[in-house]
């Protein structure tokens, strides 16, 4: 960094501020995760040990592996991934076109439409739970991963539509018009120009949809019996488990989100800078 390299006191003060800020933010995110990991790997004694040591006294993967082998955990984990995948795919596939339409076209009832989209979040799931369960049983979606994914999509969709609207608004209209003039049809212009530039934002939308689905407990608990998602499963099982089991479960809940965000991190930074100005 040029500010850090400059020997002036103003520059170095700024650098100190910058780096201490970074350190605090990192600690904010990493320390809890680390403590959970410590609890999960520290074994029965490590969990209760106080004061905590920076490095665990004895690492043992045994409780974690034991937890993984517990009946239902692996299945629940896969169910959670499945429901999240359904949520991510559907909310981007349905939400992004809605966001594009909101960003680019003026149509009658646009504001009303936006309000309606948000209103889907105004219905508490608790009220919907019973009728939803009944109709899911009727259609045959009850106790399936796809059923949970669909409900999670409903939760994530308003968010996806409104966020992608902002993303598409951020891609200058002139770029799209230039593409039309230079030989693109509307779909071609979208896939060659708009989509690549909107990719960071679309990736962020996918991350949030994933997290919404992954963290959701209530609908998942109500709508499943045997094919539980991880959150729903842990909620019922962990209450009766020893503490280090609970930490292992917590870690298992955290890890996929972290890995997923890490995987799409490239798109979370606007690498080209969306605006051409």
């Amino acid at each position: 960094m040029s500010t850090a390299a400059r020997p002036s006191s103003f520059g170095s003060a700024r650098a100190v501020l910058l780096w201490s800020g970074i350190a605090v933010l990192c600690a904010w995110v990493l320390v809890p995760i680390y403590l959970v990991a410590l609890g999960a790997f520290g074994g029965r004694t490590g969990v209760y040990q106080w004061p905590k040591t920076i490095f665990p006294a004895g690492i043992s993967f045994e409780p974690f592996l034991l937890f993984l082998k517990t009946e239902g955990v692996a299945g629940a984990f896969m169910n959670s991934l499945g429901a999240a995948a359904v949520t991510v795919i559907l909310s981007v596939l349905i939400g992004a076109p809605a966001g594009y339409a909101l960003a680019r076209y003026n149509f009658r009832g646009k504001d009303g439409y936006r309000l309606l989209v948000l209103l889907t979040r105004a219905f508490p799931l608790a009220i919907l739970a019973l009728p939803l369960t009944v109709s899911f049983i009727r259609i045959g979606l009850y106790d399936t991963v796809i059923g949970v994914g669909l409900v999670h999509t409903v939760l994530a969709l308003p968010f996806a539509a409104l966020v992608t609207q902002g993303i598409f608004l951020g891609v200058p209209r002139e770029l799209e018009e230039a593409a039309w003039v230079f030989g693109c049809s509307r779909p071609q212009a979208f896939f060659r120009i708009v989509a690549p530039l909107a990719l960071p934002g679309l990736a962020a939308t996918a991350v949030f949809a994933f997290v919404i689905s992954w963290n959701e407990v209530f609908a998942a608990s109500v709508l499943t019996v045997r094919h539980r998602t991880l959150t729903a499963y842990l909620l019922t099982v962990l209450a009766e488990s020893p503490l280090h089991y609970r930490f292992a479960g917590g870690l298992l809940l955290i890890l996929p989100s972290v890995i997923f965000i890490f995987a799409v991190r490239r798109y979370l930074f606007a690498i080209w800078g969306i605006s051409s100005k």
Binding site: E174, L175, E177, V181, F182, G183, C184, P196, L197, S276
Partner: protein, 352 residues
Amino acid sequence: MANIVIDRIKKTFGTFEALKEISLEIHDGEFVSLLGPSGCGKTTLLRIIAGLETETSGKLLIGGTPINGLAPKDRGLAMVFQNYAVFPHMTVFENVAFGLRMQKADQKRVKSQVDKAAALLHIEPYLDRYPNKLSGGQRQRVAVARALAVEPKVLLMDEPLSNLDALLRLEMRTELKAVLQASGTTTIYVTHDQTEAMGLSDRIAVMYNGRIEQVGAPVDIYSHPASRFVGGFMGSPPMNFIRLPVTNGTVKLGNTHHSVPVHTGSDIVLGLRGENVARTPLAEGLRLDVRVAEPMGSHLLLTGIIAEQPVRVILPPGETVRAGDAIGLKPDADRLIWLSPETGLSLNHPKT
């Protein structure tokens, strides 16, 4: 290359008439500017020609072929946008090649066309860079190169220089003229800057309130404005307008009588360019009470009062005039513009 026929094009937004039946023919290889203040409809007209906006009624032809209703890509034109609209996720090479790639041109043609356009606009050193590493002027060149690379029948430019700083704008203007003269492409150029339009165009269409006020060569429009609006919009300082009484079919300027095409008893407006006057003795000429004298080096700019109305005139740099002086001016009799005080239209020659 092709000619363009704009035939009674009308555009309404709700109840607002942005364009009121505009007709204009642009010849093959001609450079025509649409000039006017913001909101006059010039950009709307350009976007209708490009196919980015749909006309309410009227016909458009390029090279004799009607293009109404065609998608922008099927009109055989290229466009340079106000904000350049250079694609940020492509290198300069890919930007310039974009139109050719969409035409599925073979690799050899893409390469040669891009090289040609890049050489013309001096952007060869940047072909591998991304646009965010370029300055505004360089992006502008990329946008122009992208448009020329496809060898369009018609080139449309929407205020392409307005985002550049003053010095760069002047430089690019000269260069643009040289490049476009070399390519011989039919060009429509939208601008609100009258010096740009004057310098670049074969013909200028001055627009105001959704209408074309006057079409003509830059010098004609400058010297023979068809209306008060055109006279006031062209030139810096703008044309002076002095309202004078008419007696016996003549107007008295100093001790000279000029016959005018207006009945006795009414007034007439004299349109007078600041540079079309010469100094004479006070007793013989039109009396100017000087309020401010600004020596500009190349000329002397005087701001003052003639017949109780504010005017600005230009004299040779050698004249010694100070604020507070009263001097005599003799207008060039061949360059007087007579305007109707009611309609603002020129009475000198039939309206074009």
